[in-house]
Each structure stands twice: as C-alpha cells, then as structure tokens.
Symmetry: C2
Subunit: 136 residues, 2 copies
DNA sequence: GCCATTTCCTACTATTATGGTCAGCATACG
DNA sequence: CGTATGCTGACCATAATAGTAGGAAATGGC
C-alpha cells in the first residue's frame, strides 16, 4: 500500500517548479539537482504532466518548464492520477463481497488527495523546512 | 496503490470462518473451495493470523480453524496490518517536505480500516449477495 | 496399529511492477 | 555552428507479489 516514486517525485517536481516560478522557464537539470533526483527519470515523469496540461515546456537552450495553471488549481489528486493511473485498491471487477469496504477506502483516499493543492504543498514544505529566513 | 491479495484473501478467509462458525473447526480445504482460492496459499496466510491470535487451529483429521475472538472484536486494520505489515504510504524516513500529506493519507486509511470489523464484513457480504433467503 | 485427513513448515519459481539507465534525435538560443 | 535543453523509445536490474511443490507431524476413525 504505497505511493510509488512516480507520484511522489512528480509532486516534488511540481512543487519545485511552483517554488521557482518566475519569468524564465525552469530546467529539469536544476530541479534534479535541488531535489537530488535523476534528471532522466524526471523527464519520464513530466511527459504525462505536460500532456495533461499541468505544465508547458520551452524547448532549446535556456528552455525548461513552467506551470500552466495557478498552483492553487492543481490538486494532488490530479497529479497522482495522471502519473499512476486510476486508483484501484483492488483489481477491477473482483467479486469478493467486500466491494463496499474497497469503495469506502477509495473515497477516503481521494478525499484527502483532492483537498490538497500544489499551493498547500508549497506552504507545507516551507513550514517543514522550519526556521525563519527573514534576517538572512 | 493496492491492497495485495494477501490482505484481501486473508479477509475472505476470516469472513468465511466467521460465517461457518459452529462447534466443529473449519478446514482450509472447505474454505478454499467455497472462495475459489488455493488451499496452499491460504495456509501461508493463516499462519501469521494464528500467531497473532485471531484464529486457533485443531490439527489432524477433522481438524481445521476457528476464530479465537468474537467477530466484532477483530478489525480489518488488525488483519491487514498482520498480513501486509505496517502501512507505509512512502518509505520510512524519506524527507521530501510532504510528510504532512503522507500522514494525513495514512490517518484517513487507518480510520476506515479500524472502524470496520469482521462482523461488518459478514453483514456487508450478506447484503452484497442480495436477495432474501428466508423462504428457501 | 494403520490410514486418511488436515495442519504445519521450508523451499522454490513465475510473473509483474518499480525504478531506473542508455542512446540518440529535435529544437532553439547565442 | 555549437551547446543546452527538451523529447522519445528501448532496455535492464531489483524487489515484491502470488503463488507451487513436497513433505513432515499430528490426530481422529476404523
């Protein structure tokens, strides 16, 4: 019962983009360095996110990625479902008489995922980094 | 993001035991037939359940298993955690700044699992089998 | 005592998902 | 033109899952 690194790294990637948002696009290389992730692997993760319209890319030298929507309008659910496919607690069309339980679980999980936006994650991460940066 | 068959078959097994509870112990063979599962595989699943004290066994001919506790006192959480180990949404000690999200998810899931007992599953399954059996 | 039944135990194996790596083309800035 | 970056598809190593296989030990019925 795990979130795969696909979903997790994908969120880290988007949070990083959201954090370093500015006029210029952000290169995957810089994200990979900051987050200590493999650039090649991030390339694979961002492809579906681009296709789904969460980020847009700028090719060529000095290119990179930027969020295509406000960070408060991208939910964790969007990202996880895009990267990991539909949430199947148990395989489709099993008939074990416990469908009601699986349905409850699914709802509970999706509720959390859909109540949390990228904006929330940015805030969350800043809090978790603790400490005040004001006087630096 | 799945419940493995370990947890799922384990629940089916216990629900079957709960349903066929009586004076005599219930053999795995009969459970395997009713639920269309492999007897050998069930053996592997019931071992930890026995060790954890949810069922007790009677060896030898005409032996089998029976619940060691009232079915209203065994929660789905007990069973799943026994069979699948601790619920780790993400690997231990990752530091991705999203710990708060993973914690929320974990809580949401465990809440559902711990509010549901074997008794609930028995009722649930009976309802799902639909139809009234009174006049048969 | 013997046989059938059933639990119990230890390996082994096949398949799948995960978590990547590798190689190379495509595009665009300077 | 050269370098930085995006983009794509193929490939691979490891671990987890989902079982199988084979038999030893216990126990009730005959």
């Amino acid at each position: 019962m795990k979130i795969s690194t696909k979903g997790r790294y994908g969120l880290m990637l988007l949070v990083d983009l959201a954090t370093h948002e500015g006029s210029a696009p952000v290169s995957l290389k810089s994200v990979a360095e900051r987050q200590s992730l493999s650039e090649h692997y991030l390339e694979q993760l961002i492809a579906p996110l681009r296709n789904a319209g969460f980020v847009r890319s700028v090719r060529g030298a000095y290119g990179g990625y930027m969020l295509a929507k406000p960070k408060s309008e991208i939910t964790v659910k969007d990202v996880i479902l895009t990267l990991e496919g539909p949430l199947t607690i148990v395989d489709e069309d099993v008939q074990d008489g416990l469908e009601e339980l699986w349905e409850k679980l699914k709802t509970a999980i999706l509720t959390v995922l859909e109540q949390t936006t990228l904006q929330d994650l940015v805030d969350m991460k800043q809090r978790s980094e603790g400490g005040y940066m004001y006087y630096i």
